[in-house]
Subunit: 456 residues, 2 copies
């Protein structure tokens, strides 16, 4: 009987994170200070982030050592399994070989703790006692509360209103690990109050919750802020995923033709694929990188590649990224982790260079694919990675037509145990697709800041 899982031992947990910045054919554009309109310095970022994370953000070192206490926490769930989806291949009747990296085995249920643990550790080492953050679907907020608890730190989570209402049990999980969670927009920050006054019961957005988290951090002693995606250092920490996967493909004696991942802020796709990008840009491998985003928030496929704020309230530094405009609030799709106006600069850069490509999908076909996968493989996926599942399925079905034996790999970055209400809606036939809101986006993009041409 063929092998189903490719497992590694604790000794195979990577010792270093891989920094793609060392290998990019062109460097990333700088991060711009929104007041001065010139590149930010570490001092600009120091009120918000731990200094070690700021250093990692701009580091050009190829390998950055993982501190032993972080690696030791990783042992609670890493290395994660790589699966060969034999039953799903059979159900689809495809000659393709499908693999998935299964990150849902972490206690919070996704890839997010890979960076949460690192961020909590560095903040602790630098004397902080408390971390604030935002969370969309709750995966990141769970991960950071899990991590802060292990390093004996306080944690305060601003959860996007719509998700807070849709997923009450993420709240319970966050509380079980001892963190505090509030619905965003909240009355606890001046920006939250402003939005609530304008729209009582405001359903919130990731950009808005980020604004609240940042304001909270800079106004409280001993507090810093942590972001769960988008930034270079966050993507860096996620590269343990792709590194493990390379060893696992060796065990499988196979090599992928395409790597598929969902993108919201970009961290799961990055962690899964960046260690493979050098195979393409240095070794000339014919390797396809397919990012998948929701049609309700299609930053890369429909956004402008311009500098923009990371948050709704226009308080963060400016990053060059594909953006729908920082004031754009996406429709309440169930993939709450993908409801973001922008995208990780690294993912944008690689798309811009033609190294990666991106597709946008509606949520109903995404759930069709999720259920097809769950019935064959057992695992009930979160709505976010189900976007990758849909593309993997389409590619496998193309192979069925052509007879090609392509090797398809995707990142199954989280389970759907806290998303069952979304499945209920789907089974009841009540799930709707949201058309791309071109006019709202055009409106939001009018507010993009103008950055001097020398930094473009």
């Amino acid at each position: 009987m063929e092998q189903t899982k490719f497992m590694l031992g604790e000794e195979d947990i990577p010792t270093h994170w891989y920094n793609i910045q060392a290998d990019l054919p062109e460097p990333l554009p700088p991060i711009i200070h929104p007041g001065r309109m010139d590149p930010v310095t570490p001092d600009d970022l120091a009120p918000i982030f731990a200094m070690e994370l700021i250093k990692q953000e701009v580091s050009q070192e190829r390998w950055i050592e993982i501190p032993e206490p972080v690696r030791d926490v990783y042992k609670l769930w890493r290395p994660t399994p790589l699966y060969r989806a034999r039953r799903w291949e059979q159900a689809l009747g495809t000659p393709a070989r499908i693999y998935y990296k299964w990150e849902g085995v972490s206690p919070p249920g996704s890839h997010k703790p890979n960076t949460a643990v690192a961020q909590a550790y560095y903040n602790k080492m630098e004397g902080q006692t408390r971390i604030t953050t935002e969370t969309g679907a709750g995966q990141w907020g769970s991960a950071l509360s899990f991590a802060c608890n292990l390093f004996d730190m306080e944690c305060k989570v601003y959860m996007v209103g719509i998700s807070y209402d849709q997923k009450p049990y993420r709240k319970s999980m966050i509380e079980a690990w001892g963190a505090t969670i509030v619905r965003s927009p909240s009355l606890e920050t001046s920006v939250g109050k402003k939005y609530l006054e304008e729209v009582p019961g405001h359903t919130g957005s990731l950009g808005l919750a980020i604004s609240e988290g940042v304001e909270d951090a800079v106004t409280h002693e001993g507090s810093k802020y942590a972001l769960g995606s988008v930034l270079n250092h966050v993507l860096l920490h996620q590269t343990v995923i792709g590194q493990e996967m390379k060893k696992q493909f060796e065990l499988a004696d196979d090599y992928p033709d395409m790597l598929i991942g969902c993108i919201g802020g970009g961290s799961s796709m990055a962690g899964f694929s960046l260690p493979w990008v050098t195979d393409k840009i240095k070794d000339g491998k014919d390797l396809q990188f397919i990012c998948v985003e929701p049609m309700a928030s299609p930053s890369v496929t429909k956004g402008l590649y311009k500098f923009d704020f990371g948050d709704a309230a226009a308080t963060t530094p400016l990053m060059k990224m594909y953006t729908l405009g920082h004031s754009f609030i996406p429709a309440p799709i169930h993939a709450g982790g993908l409801r973001y106006h922008g995208m990780a600069p690294i993912i944008c850069h690689l798309n811009d260079l033609g190294i990666m490509e991106t597709l946008a999908l509606h949520q109903v076909p995404v759930f069709d694919a999720a259920v097809s996968f769950a019935k064959a493989e057992g695992i009930i996926p979160a709505p976010e990675p189900s976007h990758a599942i849909k593309v993997a399925m389409d590619e496998a079905l193309k192979c069925k037509e052509t007879g090609e034996e392509k090797v398809i790999a995707f990142n199954l970055c989280g389970h759907g145990h806290f998303d069952m209400a979304a499945y209920d809606t789907y089974f009841a036939g009540d799930l709707v697709n949201y058309e791309y809101p071109a006019e709202k986006v055009a409106e939001a993009q009018k507010e993009l800041p103008e950055v001097p041409p020398e930094y473009q």
Copy 2:
């Protein structure tokens, strides 16, 4: 840094189930036909169960081969990890070494698919197209729908009313795998109708849901019934847990002093511990087996060791077990999987022989221990195994007093992702302990059937 997880490869999945009946110092009492009042024959059971399962129920063979298609499905999540709870040991400040076997990595989230897959397989091989069952907390119903789906069979689940209301997302999970689920008591069986007429909105019980599942199976062509615990063949299939654990303890170069598991029907404790029982009864190892049950349904510590029906409606064959009386309906504790009036005959027999021992606990201290564990180890446990966690904690704290370096192992048989409402209640301070209802039990025990003395 010390090792956290002890992992095995797919080649280490056991090839045989271990049948304790071959090694019991005294044989099990027979199963009695309630009409004839003599031992049941395979023909008596044939309308309800697959013939291969009936053979396993009474087999005296020590090792029963696991069919290759079953072993192949096991690969979706087995072997499961054995963890050393280093962080929890440190948090408790104990010199004890604590290990836990983590069965929550299966897609349905518990140990239940170990037998669900086997039962679906044998029914499929014997030409059945549909399986009916009951479920308490939903772990078993999820597992059977998962298994039936993999073997392309229909599945109908009767879920105990109180759990159906408390855990709506178990229902969604069961539906995601294509099974049908109804609240029990239901209008779909004559026994369900009878109870609903007596008490509209009846909250149900495991015993009552079993009655409905059995009635449905015997009244529908191509259908058989499957039970998720109690019976010998169910416990047999679970022995993959303890067998893997023996290899893992060898890897850890350690040996347990005590094995702790929760008991509701008895299958998780049995699967975890039976492969170790021979170490005690044959090799004379000083090994303690501690079963833990809820004070609201304390079959072993407070029940009578007598013959009783397995279901509330008094339709099943009679088994000799510690029982609170088949008409007893336990209080609505959150550990829905432990709300059963009886107990697996094998677990009862081993308790009666003094090879195992049993404790009963209230649910508030159980949740205290669950949260202590979750904060240290990350995993949020289901309420059922949290009973074992509490005893492990107490034993570890005793070691702190005495300085003993005992080796404590417990079975973490499921995650709590579908039990977060129970955690909410706990954090809100609203969780209550239910006193042992002595009068209700005495009343129910008046209805115990009288079996001829030669079979006692």
